[in-house]
């Protein structure tokens, strides 16, 4: 049979192949983008190194722990928040603006596949961040608790997954209702406010009267859950439930309001 170059042979690739291709593409773009890399790696490293250096100079400790042992888990939580919330919101906002989501909407990749690809890309980038930040933490003398390593690992995995789900759902909600520029501004502002006052890097207990309120924020809950895993080798059930609650709220809001264009 002779076929010419453009003879039709239509058909979608297998769903798994499409989802993997989409996640690889999104992860690559996220890591290539300077501002996103700043949020994902540079700022958390600066916060960790700067925080530890400052605490050493002043000679303070936190809740009876060395500063690095408290700050390192906090910075891991910060990294999850920056990627799952700020990066996802900004990237998705501009995907809407540039018509990327529209074009993909005419491709064989279904919307569920697009969402799954995003989640996989996100988890990949978060894993990469955690590797880098754990290495920096250990180099600074961080000693995570070894009281019950399996429990720590389960607690950390739960915290990272639920935290990622909660923040990504909220990030998609913002990106789905606002214009790209407004999303950019709001996502960065919220990130800065939560980094400073949201109980991520520092324990909620350090915020005095506001501490009980901050523990209900997704940032405070994520910070507490990660610290519970790596400082006390315990599973902070209350914080994990708070994160799950935010994930549901975010998912419902997104599903009700998201506009693909």
């Amino acid at each position: 049979m002779t076929t010419s170059t453009f003879t039709p042979a239509p058909g979608g690739a297998r769903l798994s192949r499409m989802v993997l291709a989409q996640s690889r593409m999104e992860a690559r773009l996220m890591l290539r983008n300077g501002e996103q890399l700043l949020l994902a790696i540079v700022i958390p490293v600066i916060v960790l190194v700067g925080g530890v250096a400052a605490a050493d100079r002043i000679g303070i400790d936190l809740d009876g722990h060395r500063a690095v042992d408290i700050l390192a888990p906090g910075v891991l939580a910060l990294a999850v928040m920056s990627t799952a919330f700020t990066s996802v919101a900004i990237a998705t906002g501009f995907e809407r603006r540039y018509g990327v989501i529209k074009l993909l909407g005419s491709s064989p990749l279904p919307r569920s596949g697009l969402l799954l690809g995003k989640v996989l890309a996100l988890l990949n980038v978060v894993a990469l961040q955690l590797v880098v930040l754990v290495a920096v933490g250990l180099a600074l003398g961080w000693e995570p608790t070894l009281a019950h390593p399996p429990r720590s690992l389960v607690a950390l995995t739960l915290a990272v997954c639920l935290g990622t789900a909660a923040f990504a759902a909220l990030g998609l909600f913002v990106a789905g209702v606002l214009r790209a520029e407004a999303t950019l501004a709001l996502a960065n502002l919220v990130y800065l406010l939560l980094m400073a006052g949201g109980g991520v890097v520092l324990p909620t207990s350090t915020y005095g009267a506001a501490s009980s309120l901050i523990a209900w924020l997704p940032s405070g809950a994520l910070g507490e859950a990660v610290r519970a895993a790596l400082v006390d080798a315990s599973i902070d059930g209350r914080s994990l439930l708070v994160l799950a609650g935010w994930a549901v709220v975010g998912a419902v809001l997104t599903a009700r309001t998201f506009r693909w264009e």
Binding site: T3, S4, F6, T7, P8, G99, K102, S107
Partner: protein, 312 residues
């Protein structure tokens, strides 16, 4: 699926944005294996109609069938079989041109060779250029490559040559003719008459949300009641020449002075008109050097049907 089913059939489509009626009972059919142009001024409802066929918009009234399928209900079955070129955008700003094309290829079962395709479209030199640094014409060509890479049966191309230089435009036309030769159905929107006239097997002229006439380019431009006469004379026209010539020719005529020695006359296509133009020149002591009864163009067709010019 029988090949007798039209590639696209739109029947009585109505689309409204708020108070604005974008599509007002539009009906058209597209035969398989053809290039069909939807021609009309900006805002005529071309893009809205296309986006309804592509499944982006739900018809508010009327029915739309593409390859015999309902673009809403049968979305998952339809999308792999069509290619879509958006009017603009569609790629991440930081993605490289070839990387984007390869990504779209990876979503298909039997994609075209991306190197061949990008070379055919003259994108070979900018494969590693980020999308945001591509020229408008390069972005258009990448958009067309994306529409074709999945080897679709039917492609929708929205203003395919907007922003292209004349050479890229010609390359694009040749490519569209080649894919038609290979059995791909092409639906294109354009507001360039020459594009429709050159490429299309069939043209639907759309104005204010309706198809006002359809036919092959030959059918649409044959047997016109009006013609365009081009008049060039040996020395400058006297003042008030267009008005006095129109008075001579009668109310069905339009006269437009192009420069001090040439005019375009739009009027009845008969020898009486030519005779009157000739007599007017004699009376005003100018010698016609060109007195040319032009062929009727799609522009004339549009003007006749709407009383307005197509140029947008």
């Amino acid at each position: 699926m029988s090949t007798a089913t039209p590639a696209v059939s739109v029947d009585g489509l109505v689309m409204r944005y708020g108070d604005k009626l974008a599509v007002d009972g539009l009906s058209l059919e597209v035969a398989r294996g053809s290039i069909t142009a939807v021609l009309g001024p900006n805002g005529a409802g071309k893009t809205t109609t296309l986006e309804t066929c592509e499944g982006y918009r739900v018809p508010q009234q009327g029915t739309v069938r593409v390859l015999g399928l309902d673009p809403q209900r049968d979305r998952a079955a339809l999308l792999p079989r069509i290619g879509v070129m958006l009017q603009s955008g569609g790629a991440w700003s930081g993605v490289r041109a070839l990387e984007m094309l390869e990504h779209m290829a990876s979503l298909h079962a039997h994609p075209l060779d991306t190197t061949m395709l990008s070379e055919r479209l003259g994108l070979g030199d900018c494969g590693r250029t980020p999308y945001r640094r591509l020229s408008g014409g390069q972005q258009q060509r990448l958009g067309l490559a994306i529409a074709l890479v999945g080897r679709p049966e039917l492609v929708f191309v929205d203003e395919p040559t907007a922003g292209m230089d004349p050479q890229a435009r010609r390359t694009t036309w040749e490519l569209l003719e080649e894919i038609r030769g290979d059995g791909v159905t092409v639906v294109l929107t354009t507001h360039h008459m020459d594009e429709a006239e050159h490429l299309a097997d069939r043209i639907h002229i759309v104005d204010r949300g309706r198809v006002i006439t359809s036919g092959t380019p030959g059918e649409l431009t044959r047997d016109g009641r009006t013609a365009t006469i081009r008049l060039v004379v040996n020395r400058p026209f006297p003042d008030g020449a267009p008005e006095s010539l129109r008075a001579e020719l009668g109310p069905d005529t339009e006269v437009r002075q192009l420069d001090e020695v040439s005019m375009l006359i739009h009027g009845p296509a008969d020898s009486m008109t030519l005779g009157r133009v000739s007599r007017w020149c004699e009376e005003h002591d100018v010698l016609p050097q060109t007195l040319n009864l032009g062929q009727r163009t799609l522009e004339d067709v549009f003007l006749e049907l709407t009383g307005r010019e197509l140029a947008s």
